[in-house]
């Protein structure tokens, strides 16, 4: 590091003196005595080996070097002030970056963002799909929506929703397999998502809940690694899939998928909301978080 920056504090004095072209006025601005200013500037001049002011009658006149330095210092100070502003509080309006799993992003978040934009046109939301939890404290990411609870203590974390799990299939499968009672399900392809978070449930749980004995040998299975894949599978007519409302509600509404039974695994999927309480963008984060809560009600 530049050794000349060792006497940084002296520059504050110098800046004030340069702006006022007067030690007394500078002292008044800084709420210190005139003598202090005089000494500080003498020190600075000695350290730099450069005369910064010359006495001009009653006042002080900047030398050429003094002028150059004053310009630089003033600009550097403005820059620092801006920096402080930026980390202290940012306005509500601006960009907000949200991360969630690829499935949640594409199945729930992104399809609803237009509503947020309509309500808060000054906040531009960027959605970042990512398979793993992204640190919201040490990155540019402001909000994370994650399945389950994230093992971290240093940021705000709350449960956004518990979304029950139920079975969905296409209308065609419903008809072909005559899915009027849970027993019939054994004859379908059973599609199951694995490894998407610690979901903690499976077809086994469903059959138990349905009070139907499983006959492992007799059944056809398919494992998928994302909700998306499972949904695509059943959409194209392949079997029956266990998933939650937030992933498929719009498709159920459209009629492309149906929910053959009222059987629900609860509490089901748990989604957490995480953000940095001390973020400079806390204002817009809170707006977004509140919108999320309302939207999920």
């Amino acid at each position: 590091m530049d050794k000349r920056l060792r006497h940084l504090a002296l520059l504050r004095c110098f800046d004030a003196a340069a702006r006022h072209q007067s030690y007394s006025d500078a002292a008044a601005e800084l709420s210190i005595s005139q003598a202090a200013v005089s000494q500080q500037i003498r020190n600075l001049e000695q350290h730099l080996g450069v005369t910064l002011f010359t006495r001009q009658g009653r006042g002080m006149l900047l030398t050429k070097q003094g002028k150059t330095l004053a310009d630089t210092v003033a600009r550097a100070f403005v820059q620092l002030s801006d920096g402080f502003d930026r980390i202290q509080i940012e306005p509500e309006s601006g960009t907000l970056t949200v991360t969630a799993s690829p499935s949640f992003c594409s199945r729930w978040l992104v399809p609803r963002l237009w509503k947020f934009s309509q309500q808060y046109p000054d906040i531009q939301v960027r959605a970042l799909a990512s398979a793993q939890y992204e640190d919201v404290r040490h990155s540019d990411i402001d909000v994370a929506i994650r399945q389950g609870e994230v093992m971290t203590s240093e940021v705000h974390q709350e449960i956004l929703l518990h979304d029950p799990i139920f079975a969905v299939c296409s209308a065609r499968v419903l008809e072909e397999h005559q899915l009027t009672s849970p027993e019939q399900v054994s004859n379908c392809w059973l599609v199951e998502a694995i490894g998407v978070g610690r979901t903690g449930f499976s077809w086994k749980d469903w059959f138990k809940l349905a009070k139907v004995p499983m006959q492992p040998g007799k059944m056809s299975w398919m494992e998928v690694t994302t909700w998306e894949m499972g949904i695509n599978a059943v959409l194209s007519g392949h079997g029956i899939f266990l998933t939650s409302a937030c992933m498929v509600q719009d498709i159920l509404d459209s009629g492309a998928l149906v929910k053959p039974f009222d059987i629900q695994i609860e509490p089901g999927l748990c989604f957490s909301l995480l953000y940095d309480d001390e973020s400079p963008r806390i204002a817009r984060i809170k707006v977004f978080a509140e919108w999320l809560r309302q939207e999920l009600k």
Copy 2:
């Protein structure tokens, strides 16, 4: 002034810590103890009300705000270092601004600058013609050439040359008035420069030196306020003018003007050279000053 700049010195610590992502390494760089760094950063965080680092196992991790601030601070420091560089010593090459009276500029300085440029192609000289002395300490001007001595004590001042005064006229006037003896001069238009500095001489002095009695009533006078005007007057055939070698040497050489007598008022015009000894551009100033001395020999 931004109150947050009160704790400027803490930023030096912060900058080092941010670069190293380690208080211990920062302490080593700054040659202070680790405890000092830890305290300084705690102070900074308190003053700003913002967490800048979080502990990450053994090391320290910048928060988002910390990162932002570190960037700003780093850039501000570079700027300050540059500022210091600029006022401390500038290289020999670069721009040099010279001021002189309009007459000296146009009659002597500018016609000779090409030689300087040839010898020192890396120094770009700008010539500033100005009727009054320009401060070389508190402006962008590096060198001043002035008639007489300037009443200032805070910059370097030396006498560049004493240039004797003599009479010049056009060849036509010489012939028409048959200027073979000083007596004949009384019949010419006497052109005299007034108010161009405290020159301290006039036609009266010349007649005295020539041992010719003046006949004020019988003579025609013309007063001019610049050397330039006088030279133009005699060049176009109007009378005889008192001036010095540096103003007309080239015209005498070309034959457009002649020097009818050997009578010289001495010491005549005195030119001083002034520059700021502590200028950051002292290197190129010294080169130019030496060239001036050689050129005037």
